[in-house]
């Protein structure tokens, strides 16, 4: 039976586009396949309308329409976790939140009532050094005994495959704990011959698998069967080559260059961007009130949204009657004459963020006009893990980010946000 029709512009669009545009998730499989089998572009009909029919079998029209309307109103799942605590509390988990979020691509520091960046914070950022990008590195290099003894046992080594998309390509990551994580599609998994688990987010018929290899395992000695098997799979059976981002938290991090000298490798500096924002509307925050209070303090989630507005340089001074935008700063707010915003882009390790967080805590040793400062950290959208070994997927945005608000009395708020294909942050 045919029962769904729409009127749209007269364009040479394909069935794929139409099906994706109208009913991203509600079409039955039969309807979807039927639509896709007729993929050649629809003829454009003069008179500015295209009629689209989707043939659906084994379902009633009422069920189909109900599903369609529900899907039109739905939006992907997302989570925001807000915590408040004090740095001096024994059980404070601020270090764990930073240290277990391994792969970070962007860090911003927001300092209200501050013109140029304070010297200590500036020198900490400039002292970040550099990270490395290496081309066409075979994953089996990480498994060799020489590599494990030189790097993994001597400090935190971070590696993440570069420009691989986790929703379509194979992806690899080496965590500082010595775990090698491969997120591979079904074909690669079957060819590779290593044991893994189906991805949590690939549905009943898994099309993606995650392989977790512990490189600190004592059973992984050079003459052991386990090592022989892993080495053979990764070097001969199905060699996996990636471009990698590398970082090593060790004073001799430059020895990466000499170790991988047979590969095309280069050192990359961090991109640092500093701006001073004038007459910014800043929300009023009270460290004891995570939920906010009417007329007195803003809630945590409103502040988190405002951080987004500041980072994107969005104007918050709109009128409620404006046609363009009605977005405004959360209430209550104050106007701050100058606010410093510094953004660092690159492959940033948690140790570096930890140093920056420590500097921001020390910022309040001397009295300041502001009562809080903020640190915002964005994770890689295509990393196979978010926090710890929590599996991470892209879905529609791949967001995994967190922000700290550091108050002048050593209190802090932390807000951790994840998208659809992610577990709840720790």
């Amino acid at each position: 039976m045919y029962y769904y029709g729409i009127a749209g512009p007269a364009l040479p669009i394909s069935w794929h586009q139409v099906a994706a545009a109208i009913t991203p998730r509600c079409a039955t499989e039969a309807a979807w396949q039927e639509a896709c089998s007729q993929d050649p572009p629809l003829p454009a009909i003069p008179g500015h309308s295209v009629r689209v029919f989707i043939q659906a079998e084994r379902t009633s029209s009422a069920h189909f329409t109900g599903n369609m309307l529900r899907c039109l109103d739905s939006c992907p799942r997302h989570l925001l976790v807000c915590e408040k605590s004090n740095f001096k509390q024994e059980k404070s988990r601020h270090s764990a939140h930073v240290e277990t979020h391994y792969f970070n691509c962007l860090v911003s520091v927001l300092l209200p009532e501050c013109g140029p960046l304070p010297e200590k914070i500036k020198s900490t950022i400039e002292g970040f050094g550099s990270y490395f990008v290496i081309r066409n590195l075979s994953v089996h290099e990480f498994v060799t005994e020489d590599f494990r003894n030189t790097f993994i046992k001597q400090g935190s080594f971070y590696a993440l495959s570069y420009q691989t998309r986790i929703d379509q390509d194979n992806t690899a990551a080496l965590l500082p704990t010595g775990k090698l994580i491969l997120s591979v599609d079904k074909d690669t998994y079957e060819e590779l011959g290593l044991q893994g688990k189906p991805s949590l987010y690939s549905g009943k018929n898994a099309m993606r698998y995650t392989i977790n290899i512990d490189l600190t395992d004592k059973a992984l000695s050079a003459d052991g069967k386990k090592f022989q098997r892993i080495n053979w799979c990764l070097s001969e059976k199905k060699p996996l080559l990636f471009d990698f981002l590398l970082a090593w938290e060790n004073t001799e991090s430059s020895s990466i260059l000499s170790y991988f000298s047979s590969y095309k490798i280069k050192s990359c500096p961090f991109t640092i961007n500093t701006t001073v924002l004038r007459d910014l509307h800043c929300p009023v925050i009270n460290s004891g009130r995570l939920h906010g209070k009417a007329e007195e303090a803003c809630s945590s989630e409103r502040v988190f949204e405002w951080f987004g507005a500041v980072s994107n340089n969005i104007d918050c001074t709109n009128q409620s009657s404006s046609f363009i935008s009605t977005f405004c700063c959360p209430f209550p707010s104050t106007v701050v004459q100058q606010t410093s915003l510094c953004t660092i882009t690159g492959f940033i390790t948690p140790e570096k963020i930890q140093r920056l967080l420590q500097q921001l805590r020390e910022y309040f040793i001397e009295p300041k006009l502001t009562t809080w400062v903020s640190l915002m950290v964005h994770g890689f959208a295509d990393s196979p893990v978010s926090w710890g070994e929590n599996e991470h997927g892209f879905c529609r945005g791949g967001e995994n980010l967190y922000s700290f608000i550091i108050f002048n009395n050593e209190d802090y708020w932390v807000q951790m946000a994840v998208g659809t294909h992610d577990d709840c942050p720790p």
Binding site: G8, P24, C82, S108, F307, G308, S325, N408
Partner: protein, 139 residues
């Protein structure tokens, strides 16, 4: 060090600072009323100059064409717009996300010129649009 300590003691005594807060954790699931989209308008051949009002009107008209008056009355805000690159950040109420996305997909013409919307990034968190690891270009 001693100077800063002394200053700390004189100018901002500990008693003036609020008491240390206790631990509290809240988990908000699907809390966001809004969804954010970073989009770019591209033209076949030479691009047509649009100001912010014209850009928004184009999107509202696209919503009206596909979803009628209900679609065009969805709360939609143009948070940021760059006239040179035709890049914009949109805010839409969560229940209108699929409607907006479908309307953008099917919007193909402006002033008799062929055009298309490219959706660069979407997220329920505005902060997520400030960084895009897929755009990290190391040459």
């Amino acid at each position: 060090m001693s100077l800063s300590k002394r200053c700390h003691g004189e100018c901002m005594p500990q008693s003036k600072l609020p008491e240390p807060t206790s631990y509290e954790r809240i988990v908000l699931k699907n809390f966001s009323e809004y969804y954010y989209m970073k989009v770019q308008l591209v033209f076949q051949g030479e691009s047509v100059p649009l100001n912010a009002a014209q850009f928004k009107l184009l999107i509202v008209n696209a919503l009206r064409t596909l979803h009628g008056e209900v679609g065009s009355s969805l709360p939609l805000d143009l948070l940021k717009y760059n006239e040179d690159t035709l890049c914009a950040i949109l805010r839409i109420s969560s229940r209108g996300l699929v409607k907006l996305w479908s309307a953008l997909t099917l919007c193909g013409r402006y002033q008799h010129r062929e055009c298309a919307f490219r959706v660069i990034q979407t997220s329920p968190f505005l902060l997520a649009l400030a960084g895009n690891s897929r755009e990290l270009d190391l040459g």
